[in-house]
Symmetry: C2
Subunit: 230 residues, 2 copies
């Protein structure tokens, strides 16, 4: 556990205030919500939930990173997304009355706030804006999932990789250097390919002067226009 904070409750309070779905509320309302949550801490490699389990809680990430992935009928993994502080998960099992279809695993030491179904429903009744925020978040995820699915079957790995790098580059990092937020193995899984192919395609992009691999996790985008056309 972090040296900066011995009290998970404290982390929890920080957590709520950072979550987009709650950040429009007044401080005293946040405090009220905070009292409804429980705090969980996980260590690197721990599992938060696994496919097939039932659940009735929304998990809000306060510190750390969580890998959300699926396992196909054939036993292959696919990384769906990585949660960062302020993100939430568990919503599927929460709203559609069924079991988890994916796995959630801590990538590092992690603090999580949980909010039980009943409590969340009460909150949504009391503050309709919360429901709207969650709907907005769902809409974004749905949008992303459908776009990804479409890219998987319409674009080549090269293109998917280039688009991914461009999207990474959009968020800040003024110097057109992007930092991969995950291992290349995970990146391969996320982009629906293999580490070998990622390695080769990055090399290909580099040979074509579109990028420069500065280190394992750092890539400089040399030609955004060119990347967009790959």
């Amino acid at each position: 556990m972090s040296r900066n904070c011995h009290d998970p409750q404290e982390k929890g309070r920080v957590c709520i205030s950072k979550v987009p779905i709650f950040n429009h509320l007044e401080p005293d309302q946040m405090e009220e919500i905070h009292h409804l949550t429980h705090t969980i801490t996980l260590e690197r490699g721990d599992t938060l939930y696994r496919a097939g389990e039932t659940s009735d809680a929304l998990y809000i990430l306060s510190t750390g990173k969580i890998r959300i992935f699926r396992v196909s009928e054939a036993g292959k993994e696919r990384l769906l997304h990585i949660l960062h502080p302020g993100d939430f998960t568990g919503e599927l099992a929460l709203f559609n009355e069924s079991t988890h279809e994916s796995f959630a695993e801590a990538m590092e030491n992690t603090v999580i706030c949980t909010l039980r179904r009943g409590a969340l429903q009460e909150l949504m009744k009391q503050y309709p804006a919360i429901a709207m925020k969650i709907l907005g978040e769902f809409a974004n995820r749905l949008e992303t999932a459908e776009e990804q699915a479409t890219r998987f079957v319409t674009e080549r790995v090269e293109t998917r990789l280039a688009l991914y790098l461009l999207e990474l580059g959009e968020e800040g990092s003024s110097d057109r250097e992007v930092i991969l937020p995950m291992s290349k193995k995970d990146l391969a899984s996320y982009l629906g390919t293999t580490p070998e192919t990622i390695s080769r395609k990055l090399q290909y992009l580099e040979e074509n002067r579109l990028i420069e691999q500065r280190s394992n996790r750092v890539i400089r985008l040399l030609d955004r226009g060119g990347l967009a056309k790959v």
Copy 2:
């Protein structure tokens, strides 16, 4: 327009009562909602919305079928899903404040009820159960989208096709005969492949005594166990 009903308003009323997100309401509440809607009719081939357009309405399908599809960066189409009476769409542009990313096109003559953003928000405030229903629906779609994306990159076309047929077969159709709800061209697009490959894979499944193609749109499942193992 159908001979059975000259009045689109009438269609609209029918529509509301069939929509899962409203069907827990009392008749007089439905009447109230009905007054908030406008009715649109489309002919086969007409476009309801296209990618890039903004929108502030939820569209609820009363009669007909609507094809929802995306177009990739490279210009290839992918069919996301087909709306049937009672289904709704338009939610992405509605909840995330951005533009449509997909296209909606009537596959036959179609009647649609629209509900404007403001009206929907009022309804959700007044009847929190509506928000919960929409959340449940979103959760299901997200679930489906993520599963599809995963299958695209982890399963072969053969397997995706077999799983699709099995899922079709689950819903009723006692006689283990399934009726394809779309053309094979659309099916190919939906499953992320080409018509040629669909044709060949169906043939392959037939040669292996797993299915029997009775007509263009009708397939008999001969061996569900076998299909599941493809």
